[in-house]
Symmetry: C2
Subunit: 402 residues, 2 copies
């Protein structure tokens, strides 16, 4: 813990936002900061959730789903996830573990793998990978000169390499974090790129921790929605995903992680079996009401409603992307992801973040918060009401047109 | 992970139960095994929960409580817990962190404290303390001769010491797990005993991790419901608690852990601040619907309903206790806890467990599953319908009368 250089990114940003509000009590803040959903949960899904909640008040309902559930999740939910989201892949329901979210699973995974592992991450990347690794003792300290933690391999992803890293840096890594569509850059990896990643991991004996939290936003048919579309991935990859961004479950807490049966440690023992033991010891199942809501998500009506919601946020992303482009900025992401990654080449991203907040009362996220290669960029999240997104576009144009 | 000698206790027992059912498909199994609540959640509480769920379908409700909540829990819930359950103690709402349960918090705590800590536990005790410690690298291996993990101090608690340990063994411990009312022995520590514990921790610089999951069952006015009734505890103790056994939230997942402001590491830095960072990195808040239900628990109607539920389970415990006593067994616990701890002195507890299952189709928990000093006992949980408890009593009398 003592090695961590700063507070976790998003609480830090919330602190700065609150300080700004204190100084400017009349500011009408618009948050394009943390990727937090804003639209209500669609009715077919809330109906399922309300029914799950009400059932806990009845003798029958409580005895069916009221007590301790299996740590891996309700069988019906695991089966439905496997059937609706992993059809045509080698994944079975026994590989699917429901949980209270990817962030929590990532921390538990790093705990399971034990300290001192060689870890590689995309740079920039979702800060929980590195921060959880540091807490779990996978790093030996912070190197202030390069703004990187020791013993963690940072693989730069920028405009110069089309946001896909030079994987050769990760050849000796035991664990490779890879997020696609990427948070924060919005880049979705293609089938060819993921095949390269999988092949290298198979060759080097690395385990990929594949974060697919934004896979619902993939529109490009050349970009897989799950890594298990790539042959061999079931032997080298864990995939973690979530209902948060699909269905507005950020506060409800429901995700899942896939540990394929074929994934083994170098001694041939089962990773899935260790995960089962890990979950049994440190977790007691996702909230039964959240699991009921998750099941409702995967009905035909639920899937359709989620599709509408994702389309809505994608339209927001398109508006933001267009806005920055029209102002003359280089912009990445925003087509297969809810994040728009804006280049302010040569500038310090915290400074740009502050300037945007001061001039427009809009909260973004400074790219450097995701790793040193994120400096020079800011991330704009497309989660917001249409009204707020349009108003944000107006304010940005007023103050940041080149 | 590799150091763990066996699967986590309760999934193991579920496995044995299922095997028994396969061999005896007509068996009418009664579970007095895992301490899992069986009665529906009372109406004033499900009403609150249903309202919280339904609100997520509305624009207003979603924007109030739908997105990422604070990792430490909704302010209103933290304030209400502090006000209703810690009045008259030094604890403020800022010290209270809501979560998805004590078991999960225990694992995160052991992660936060870093590996290689000197840990002391009551023996027997809730298996998550030791298992999570082993996973986190606080032990160096298992000593088969004494059935204990190395580098963990086991403090035996048995009839011979009235289930309160000789604390001198824990003088060099950095972390002391203490559970009262105790799981599995059912013993509730008195004010004098807890004062001894707190004073020693203050003197030795140990941190107590006090598990108060069963405090609602305390009837004896000489036994505190929270360790913060003891002067100085706020300087040496973390307290973890849960709605699970109060209100039937085992599947809903809502608990809390108290990190008092006055609790410092030996270098004077704040433990609460590290916990805040830990939760920010590895957790995203308890499910908002569970938090809504938790708030409903703490209204006057909710508190009254929880009181009725606890009284119901206590009556179950009294029935079980009386049953064993009438058959001539020495029985402990069961008055200030939902657990009845039955002595089978000189016998192997797994053997007794199997005999009970084979003869009566009743699942109990073998004492040895909680640590070596638990051998010679079985734990009977009082969670069950009255009908099942009475039927269990009848079957036990039929097969186990001395």
């Amino acid at each position: 813990m003592a090695q961590l250089k700063a507070g976790y990114l998003f609480p830090e940003i919330a602190r700065i936002r609150n300080a700004h509000l204190e100084k400017n009590p009349d500011a009408k803040i618009i948050s394009l900061g943390i990727g937090d959903t804003t639209e209500p949960i669609p009715k077919p899904i809330t109906d399922g959730m309300v029914a799950a909640a009400a059932a806990l008040g009845t003798k029958e309902g409580y005895s069916a789903k009221g007590g301790y559930g299996p740590e891996a999740g309700q069988m019906e939910l695991r089966k439905t996830i496997a059937e609706k989201l992993y059809k045509g892949t080698p994944i079975t329901y026994e590989d699917v573990f429901a949980s209270d979210g990817s962030k929590c699973d990532i921390s538990r995974m790093l705990q399971m793998f034990g300290s001192g592992r060689k870890i590689a991450v995309q740079d920039p990347s979702y800060p929980a990978y590195v921060d959880s690794s540091v807490i779990m003792g996978h790093s030996t300290g912070f190197n202030d000169a390069v703004k990187q933690y020791e013993n963690i391999t940072y693989m730069p992803c920028g405009a110069e390499n089309d946001f896909f890293p030079d994987l050769s840096a990760a050849k000796s890594a035991e664990l490779i974090f890879f997020c696609s569509p990427n948070n924060p850059t919005g880049a979705a990896a293609t089938r060819a790129q993921l095949t390269e990643l999988v092949n290298q991991a198979l060759e080097s004996g690395s385990i990929i921790i594949y974060d697919a939290a934004y896979s619902a936003f993939v529109g490009n048919p050349d970009c897989p929605k799950t890594i298990y579309e790539i042959p061999g991935a079931e032997k080298c990859a864990i995939e973690t995903c979530s209902f948060s961004k699909y269905a507005g479950f950020t506060g409800l807490r429901l995700g899942w992680t896939v540990f394929p049966e074929a994934l083994k440690f170098s001694d041939g023992s089962s990773v899935r079996q260790d995960w089962t033991r890990m979950m049994g010891t440190s977790f007691n199942g996702a909230s039964t009401v959240a699991q009921g809501a998750g099941l409702a998500c995967l009905t035909d009506a639920g899937l359709a409603a989620m599709g509408d919601m994702v389309a809505f946020y994608k339209e927001n992303a398109a508006i933001l992307k267009r806005t920055w482009e029209e102002m003359g900025y280089k912009v990445y992401g925003g087509t297969d992801a809810p994040y728009v990654w804006v280049s302010f080449e040569g500038r310090d991203s915290w400074e740009v973040f502050t300037e945007i907040l001061d001039k427009t009362d809009i909260v973004t996220t400074p790219g450097a918060g995701f790793g040193p290669a994120g400096n020079g960029y800011v991330r704009c999240s497309a989660f917001g009401s249409r009204e707020n997104i349009n108003e944000a576009a107006r304010r940005l144009k007023e103050s940041f047109s080149k």
